[in-house]
Symmetry: C2
Subunit: 469 residues, 2 copies
């Protein structure tokens, strides 16, 4: 394998100087001008537009070739039509540019001629220090340094997670797929740089706590397994592999020229390497939320606080579905809970708050019950149901959320999870999550699935660390 | 079985006169005063508060017993403490009140004494025309006539769907569970009126197109099966049965005094009766969205329009997971699509819009492609991916949504479904759904699952109607 150093990594994600090969003067909505995006977002790197007309682009002196630039830049981004890509790449190598992103599509993802040109590009960089991300990629994105190479504008989030993907949408719409992303890289056709090169760098990046992969296919399986196995005991690696169906695998082969591989074989490999497979994008999103919110989960016994008996039963079913358990609170807790109820209503888990709340109100009562449960050694975490309807008073709801967050902050080793439903669901979840101490979900299965992932990871990491000690 | 007439049904859901037994003078947030709610929401029925103090409640003359009311009201709502419930119910029978909602909890859902009192209540109504909904219920809700008996305020929606549930949360937070609800009834412990009484009435109610059930357990299985089997060929019946896990079944037994029954047996019964089982609340929500949006779905061959190759593959996997198929558009369609691409990029399904859009812009191109696909006899429906990011111009996004909706309106027999992702996802879905012509989902699995439910229902209904003809 050719060398991919932390210096390459730095120059891809936080370049101090950038050549934009194929820089365009067309600006505004629908122009997809990546240089315009760079400038708008306050990129502080030195920018060198390169195009055949030279002159000036967006206030920067333009060059007809990277060879003529006054310095050998950290990063070149190539967006010229596909036939012009190989000569442009040749110039980058000649100039000694270490990091090149190729946006242009139409290579192994297209026809025979494209495949030939992709081979030619690999020939061009052979023996050089130049490494290529792409082609058929939107490149890199870095929220920490406010930098990205996408021609489409989007939002990044300074979250402690990263994503290596084969489709730009995972970066462009990260709020839906990884609950907001700190670092992203679209490897596209992965002609040169792939998962195995980037994984060790992300593992060493102290800003990153969770690494996500969107994988359409896996080449270099052995290198990937080696790299992943080293990382998973200290950082969770979550993978969404698409192309799992026969039809999907066929489409993946043409989209990013990936060999999807037998899904079962890859599944077993993930398991062996400690990689967590998300069955769908929603699960990937929820796993990121759980990993970024909760430092640990030491057991699978959950207490449930609910205003609704029916809702409590839905949580029990969801816990059972994901092999989590219903806690049996200790006798002291049970006695305290029973004392809040009328004698004819037996306290239990789920803890029904309705009758208890008639005395001190719902907010105070719920928080008091949460405190009792978090104190109990028989309880590893608590799921709280919230009927998120503001008209019942955001006074009550707000007091309840703040109280829950406050208690959660005192017991960081025991996840407190919300299932919010109703008209103001999203607002309630947002308000609670601002604390960074609790995560909110829109259904009991989503909550239970994320908790099961969290539990499984910590159990496995623990046993690996013990084995490795 | 005792008689439950359409007149009972009308008096429960749209009473012209109501006695509130246990009417309270405590008002404002946290007081959970159902009479206050009734008045606030503009209830036009004649209201008769009944409580031990008499005098006046919220501007209405109060009585110490329903027996003293100047008329025999359509509906009595009982909210007194549990020991006062049987005498109050006896008064209702004596007064000849046909419809009684019992809100109070603490009966078969509580202790031995509660169970005894519930039996006593059944004795009290025996031989009379009085029918009881509850106890342990929030009662009924009716968006069409702006009426409900809940002590908690909430939103109703004038949608053509109904829900019979055993937990008030399904009515209170219907936006999450049935995509907004037109009619709702919480049967609580279902001591008297249950699924089998209400189902035939909802079937006859022309305002209702979809009937939902939240079931914790099933008693009177034979009556239920008979009622359901008659309805399902003309109206979809969707059931969410909780208590499917052993732990959940135990909890259901104490919450609403339900016998959960062997889940497998019940599952088989649902299938036989043509009842659609939603695996979770999210699925129930999405099925309602699909049934209320799309009048039919005649086949399972879907075309996919996408800006992202990776997103297209995720849809293919999701279609395969739910046994839907990827359409093979006819040669004319393929030729037209190919003409929009550069020659080196082969057109296919999913249809990738990116290269094609470089000429006429994304909105126009996407809508043109949608039109081609909807015209094709090989295509039964179309899934459109939307990167919902406003900063790319809500101009573009808005034009795209409006164009999609317009096309969808021309082909009502072919569902056009959106998968929206990204920062402005919810706003985009809301804008599109306002038309009533397309439904938006937040993930490809949710879209495919809902379409599979829609397809399965129409296939089954067709074969039943043919068999029955």
């Amino acid at each position: 394998m050719r060398r991919f150093s932390m210096e390459h990594y730095r120059k891809f994600f936080n370049p101090h100087s950038i050549a934009i090969i194929g820089a365009s003067e067309k600006t505004g909505p629908g122009s997809y001008n990546l240089m315009e995006n760079l400038i708008k977002e306050g990129c502080t790197a030195r920018l060198y537009p390169v195009n055949i007309r030279a002159g000036e682009v967006l206030g920067h002196k333009a060059y007809t070739s990277v060879v003529d630039l006054p310095e050998s830049v950290d990063l070149a981004v190539i967006t010229v039509p596909r036939t012009a890509v190989p000569p442009a790449l040749r110039d980058c190598v000649r100039k000694g540019i270490p990091s090149v992103v190729i946006i242009t599509q139409g290579f192994a993802d297209a026809d025979e001629e494209g495949r030939r040109m992709q081979e030619e590009m690999l020939e061009i960089i052979r023996g050089s220090d130049t490494r290529v991300i792409g082609p058929n990629s939107i490149g890199v994105a870095n929220a920490f340094d406010n930098f990205h190479t996408s021609f489409q504008p989007f939002d990044l989030f300074q979250k402690e997670n990263a994503m290596i993907c084969q489709s730009g949408m995972f970066i462009l719409a990260s709020a839906d797929f990884t609950n907001g992303l700190g670092l992203g890289v679209d490897i596209g056709n992965a002609a040169d740089v792939g998962f195995s090169e980037l994984l060790p760098c992300l593992a060493r990046d102290s800003r990153i706590k969770v690494i996500n992969l969107h994988m359409e296919g896996l080449t270099h399986g052995r290198e990937f397994m080696e790299a992943a196995s080293k990382i998973t005991p200290s950082k969770p690696v979550v993978v969404y592999k698409s192309g799992r169906s026969t039809e999907g695998a066929k489409a993946a082969a043409s989209h990013s020229a990936s060999l999807a591989g037998a899904d079962k074989v890859i599944h077993a490999a993930f398991k062996k390497a400690g990689v967590i497979r998300a069955e769908n994008l929603e699960e990937m999103n929820d796993l990121n939320k759980a990993f970024l919110t909760y430092p640990q989960l030491n057991g699978k016994r959950f207490a449930v606080i609910t205003l609704s008996g029916g809702g409590g039963i839905a949580v029990i079913d969801a816990l059972a579905q994901y092999k989590m358990e219903l806690a049996t609170p200790g006798p002291e807790t049970m006695a305290a809970l029973q004392a809040m109820n009328p004698p004819w209503l037996r306290a239990g888990n789920p803890v029904d708050t309705w009758m208890a709340s008639l005395k001190n109100g719902l907010a105070k009562t719920s928080v008091e019950i949460l405190h009792l449960l978090l104190h109990d050694k028989q309880v590893d975490g608590v799921i709280v149901l919230l009927n998120a309807y503001k008209a019942t008073g955001f006074t009550v709801l707000g007091e309840m959320i703040d109280g829950i967050v406050h208690e959660a902050g005192k017991f960081r080793e025991k996840p407190v999870v919300l299932w919010a439903f109703g008209a103001n669901r999203d607002e309630v979840i947002e308000r609670a999550e601002q604390s960074g101490l609790v995560a909110g979900f829109t259904g009991p299965e989503r909550a239970a699935r994320a908790l099961a992932g969290l539990y499984g990871y910590h159990q496995k990491a623990k046993s690996r660390n013990i084995a490795g000690a």
